[in-house]
Point group: C2
Chain length 422, copies 2
């Protein structure tokens, strides 16, 4: 795929292919410093580790039983079977939460529960189910065990100095569990990315107001705030800004000074595009990185960088704005959040296209779909048709897939990779 | 699949097949009343709609332009082409956010921007790119348009009284966008489900404390709180409760009186199982629904219902506890959250097993896996081996798949459906 020959509708060259635009964006963000903070364990849920974590100790710290039963010397049980049981003297009991007293001698055993610390002398546990108590002090063992059976060894879960979690990893509940198990009570994570959101357009009114004829309620502010908030950003909503260059410049300038990422929407259709471009250039270097991409919907997006703040001029149509968020802003937010590229992959779901679809070569087409479960086959991907100004099509969509730049369409029954909008 | 012939290791029948246990659980929860509350739009993100929402109006309320260009009578442009343009008089302009003044007469047009309200008389918009201005008052049109071109009709996004969102739907950012567009400023949603969490076991200490030999740090409390919190529940952590029947009963009783779901872990291994059972039965009817399932790991789970509170006795091993959460608690939480069964499906990802795996017939095996991306093929699913007491195996896992009860294993290269632990 190359930019050569990609022209916009005015015949101007310069529409940037999507993967090139993403690469250019991320490359420009790599130099930006990421800030860190230290958080206690529960508050660190879903945050991104700023440092690799090595295990400070062996887990478990001592060998433990993984079953309810009897701690034995495995050799004492060799040959034991239903038809030829062996007999062991019950010589003690491991109390939960305590160090066992005494030592398991040859021909003897200790009662032990799951999680109990393996007493000295023993090297295996015979499950309760494979024993028959003869009396209070004598046990019949009806199945032999090998050394190490039904125990978890010292350091078997994770050993001292082993890597517990890599830098750039998002802390899931089970990861907090591992840290808790290791006695790590606080962790260094990256700070939340600050995202400022503005809507522009003289026709817009806040969604809580009743629009006059000719006016419409602002939709993008709500959608973008929800998307960025869910992704872990600290969102500031700067509301609706008038279309005049002075007012718009001042609003964006303020937002840029207070955030790591600024999103404005509505200022990047052909008519408004120059204003967005001028304002980004005026805010300082490096300025515009990309204006116009070979993507449908979403073509008129503008991407810029002013000092350490990434600026996105998103199309005003709700569908186009959300598509540009998904393809460009999400990546930038992930990178500035400190998530490693490897950990940034979003799951895709295989589905089968339910009709023939046409597409123009030379641009990436994003197709919204509903997914319909099928018996004994992949789910059906059914395109949600509708204009890019139609918010209901986004609300009806379960996800989207791409038609590559090199293709002029896809046939019914083609397998497609659906990115979920969940 | 049937329960007949499913026996536990003591030869006792009564291990319930997993799908039967889930069905029994959900069936018992259907009768419980769900509470509701009214929330303003932004606060309703990720909450579950308690009522179907019908559109109160047409969106858009008036036909609008979807392009920058000129509002025309389509018939005036018929036959227009690059080689044979037609000429229209520019008779006005639609100001953004205003009702257009006047009417488009035959042979005339109005300048209009994207989102502009279509002026009376016109029925289409010619894109700016398909025109050449002759002078300030005359336009050359080089491509004809059909009636309705480049406009979005009144009610085309969604029409009055059409269903906007179904009951039981989780409100995503794009759904809030639709509601904002329709001027719906608050919605009735189900209340958050209250989940109380207890850990039991005399060997447990809080993860912030240094364990003595024989003691271990509580892991399940952190993991379960994270999982339930992420799923939208209001979580109360009741900490670690002693194993004695009196103390344990009082703790569970208090948690049951304050929550919709109570999870205790550690009290359901063979040794502790009777205590958990006795306590649930003592708390009142209907009591125990399931004790012991044909599942590995997770077999000793106990599921009960006391009045309107679901009670889960989860195994003490972290892996088993999380598996039982994934299979049973998650479903109960979704149902008590008001999410419809159809909306409850979790995405699965097709992957290819990287080795042969054995499994015992008659029980459902849950296999944790790491996913490794491959060029030109499904990702590889590589089982994460390790004991069910090993929390690091959960932290290393990207997801899990099942080996069905009827199978004795799976061959290398089998396609498996991986549920993501993201």
């Amino acid at each position: 795929m190359t930019a050569t020959g990609l022209k916009d509708m005015l015949g101007r060259e310069g529409l940037t292919p999507v993967d090139k635009a993403v690469a250019l964006l991320l490359q420009n963000l790599t130099t930006l410093p990421l800030q860190r903070e230290i958080l206690p364990l529960p508050a660190a849920l879903d945050r991104i580790l700023a440092l690799e974590i090595l295990s400070p100790e062996d887990l478990p710290a001592h060998p433990r039983s993984t079953m309810d039963g009897y701690a034995v010397r495995a050799a004492d049980t060799f040959g034991a079977a239903q038809t030829m049981p062996c007999y062991l003297e019950i010589d003690g009991e491991v109390a939960m939460g305590q160090t066992p007293e005494g030592k398991v001698q040859q021909g003897k055993c200790f009662r032990i529960a799951t999680g109990g610390l393996l007493p000295e002398g023993s090297d295996a546990v015979v499950m309760f189910e494979h024993t028959v108590p003869v009396d209070a002090s004598m046990l019949e063992v009806i199945k032999s065990v090998g050394s190490g059976s039904n125990i978890i060894h010292k350091g078997e879960d994770i050993s001292k100095a082993e890597m517990a979690l890599p830098r750039g990893h998002r802390l899931r509940p089970q990861d907090l569990g591992l840290l808790a198990g290791l006695g790590i009570t606080e962790v260094e994570v990256y700070r939340r990315v600050k995202v400022g959101i503005l809507s522009t357009g003289d026709e817009l009114v806040h969604w809580s107001r009743t629009p006059e004829p000719g006016q419409i309620r602002d939709i993008n502010g709500v959608v973008l705030a929800g998307l960025a908030g869910r992704a872990g950003a600290e969102v500031t909503d700067y509301g609706i800004t008038p279309d005049t260059e002075t007012a718009f410049f001042e609003s964006v300038q303020r937002a840029v000074s207070e955030n790591n990422i600024v999103l404005f929407s509505g200022g990047s259709s052909v008519g408004m595009r120059d204003l967005g471009e001028r304002v980004i250039e005026k805010l300082g270097s490096p300025g515009i990185l990309v204006h116009g991409v070979a993507l449908k919907p979403g073509k008129p997006v503008i991407i810029g960088l002013s000092g350490q703040c990434a600026i996105f001029g998103l199309p005003g149509h709700p569908v186009s704005a959300m598509v540009c968020y998904e393809i460009f802003v999400k990546q930038a937010l992930a990178q500035l959040s400190g998530i490693t590229a490897a950990a940034r992959k979003t799951p895709v779901l295989q589905a089968r296209l339910d009709r023939n679809l046409n597409s123009a070569a030379g641009r990436l087409d994003l197709v919204r779909v509903q997914l319909l479960q099928q018996e004994d086959d992949l789910p059906l991907a059914s395109p949600v048709l509708g204009k890019s100004g139609s918010i209901s099509t986004l609300s009806r969509a379960d996800g989207y897939f791409f038609i590559e730049e090199s293709l002029q369409g896809l046939n019914k029954d083609t397998e497609v990779e659906v990115h979920l909008l969940s």
